[in-house]
């Protein structure tokens, strides 16, 4: 079961996810990167069966790239990306749903602000200050409820994510030893930390 977190702070947003890729009794991989960069200043933390995870994230990523190519480099805002994704999830829902639950984090240069969006496989869309997908929410939402406040710094936001990871490592039945943490701010999307190098193939 995948774990995805997101925490918004002043000037950016953190997206973190576990790195396990498993099915049934098998662990296929322990260094999967489930935080996919969608554009220069947005990333999607995505959970679900690997097929849908890859299919949906690549589909959105390439559509966003096409938009920028077709429109002379104009960037889609995080809000527009989130609504585009919601539309795709909604259209697929009554045909063959994408079984993915995601957290989209992005930074918008024009508005000079960051935003975080929660979307689930039923095409719910909600702008939030922090969020979790998967079993993690049962353990971690309460921690975020207590720790999060307006005007956080990047370090404080990462501390919240690490607090949540520690709780999972203590109390969650399924062992998730590796997590990847990414920071999205005015300088783009960068990896803050990973448990296992996703490039190690």
């Amino acid at each position: 079961m995948d774990t995805v977190f997101g925490v918004k702070y002043d000037g950016g947003v953190i997206i973190a996810a576990d790195q396990g890729n498993a099915r049934s009794i098998l662990m296929y991989q322990k260094n999967l990167d489930k935080v996919v960069p969608l554009s220069s200043h947005s990333a999607l933390g995505i959970s679900g069966p690997n097929s849908d995870l890859v299919n949906f994230s690549e589909y959105v990523q390439k559509n966003i790239a096409l938009y920028e190519l077709s429109n002379d480099g104009m960037k889609l805002s995080t809000h527009a990306q989130a609504n585009f994704m919601r539309g795709e999830l909604a259209a697929a829902l009554r045909r063959g749903p994408y079984q993915v639950n995601v957290l989209l984090g992005g930074y918008d240069a024009g508005a000079e602000s960051s935003s975080l969006y929660f979307l689930d496989y039923m095409a719910s869309l909600q702008k939030v200050n922090y969020g979790c997908q998967g079993y993690a929410s049962s353990f971690c939402l309460s921690i975020m409820d207590r720790d999060w406040k307006e005007g956080l710094t990047e370090d404080e936001a990462i501390a919240i994510v690490e607090h949540c990871m520690k709780e999972l490592q203590t109390r969650f039945l399924i062992a998730q030893p590796n997590f990847i943490i990414k920071v999205i701010d005015k300088d783009g999307v960068k990896v803050a930390k990973f448990g296992a190098d996703p490039a190690d193939t």
Partner: protein
């Protein structure tokens, strides 16, 4: 004569021309003039209304100016029936974009969509091109206020000021000298406008009020030299509201148009005396 290449819309002539497209552009040169001017704080579009009969019922809708969405509008020169199809396309596109992205469509994308639609009629199907030219006015947060012109070929370009329809060459040449010129009272000191960079820096973008007066002046030139009565023209402005986020699209009332015409008449009289 390249007559045998005239009929098919989708075939090049030996000289590399699409005659049907050129004939469509000719058709527009008989239509009521439209002038568009980009101002500091908005856009002005002035159109000549051709009233063909006194028996025509007064209409609430315009045959010249159309709202495409909250932040874009256009004026039309040419076949009104053709224009209606394209305006529907533009409105649909704007609506579908905001359905998909929950955001306003950037103006250039809207213009490009309409133009791509027009282009298809110059390449496929054996149907004639649309006999319409448009002036598109719009606002988006990416590029602010923008003015575009498009023609039956499906080409479009962005302008600071331009004119389409009858006598548009005369209108354009007047705009070239008057747009961004220093206000009256500086004559005699005005330098010749050349094509180098110095001339660019001297362009002073007018505000909406000044642009309205210039538009009326241009219309009067294209409408055979008489200052038109307010009934014969339609003055449209697009500006932002106090919040700076929402567009305000307005067609001036007859009283407001009259005022602008009077101001222009006063200006012309003063310049005549000087």
């Amino acid at each position: 004569m390249a007559r045998r290449y005239d009929s098919s819309t989708t075939t090049f002539s030996p000289e590399g021309r699409l005659h049907q497209v050129e004939y469509a552009i000719e058709a527009i040169n008989n239509a009521g003039t439209c002038v568009g001017i980009l101002a500091q704080d908005g856009i002005v579009m002035a159109s000549e209304k051709r009233v063909t009969s006194g028996l025509l019922a007064p209409s609430k809708t315009s045959e010249k100016t159309y709202k495409l969405c909250d932040h874009a509008a256009c004026t039309v020169a040419g076949l009104t029936a053709d224009a209606n199809i394209l305006i529907d396309q533009a409105r649909l596109r704007a609506g579908r974009y905001s359905y998909q992205y929950a955001e306003a469509i950037p103006v250039e994308q809207l213009v490009e969509h309409v133009c791509n639609y027009k282009q298809a009629y110059t390449q496929y199907g054996g149907l004639r091109p649309f006999g319409v030219a448009f002036l598109f006015a719009g606002y988006d947060p990416h590029h602010g206020f923008q003015l575009y012109q498009s023609d039956p070929s499906g080409n479009y370009s962005g302008w600071k000021a331009t004119a389409i329809g009858a006598n548009n060459q005369a209108g354009k040449s007047l705009l070239k000298t008057e747009y961004g010129a220093k206000p009256e009272g500086g004559d005699g000191d005005e330098e010749m406008k050349t094509d180098d960079d110095d001339a660019e820096e001297e362009i002073r973008v007018p505000d909406v009020a000044e642009a309205l007066r210039l538009a009326v002046k241009v219309l009067s030139k294209t409408m055979d030299g008489t200052i038109p009565s307010p009934e014969k023209m339609e003055l449209f402005t697009m500006t932002l509201d106090e919040s700076g986020k929402e567009c305000v699209q307005r067609t001036l009332t007859v009283e407001e148009s009259k005022k602008v015409v009077e101001e222009v008449e006063a200006e012309t009289a003063a310049a005549g005396d000087a």
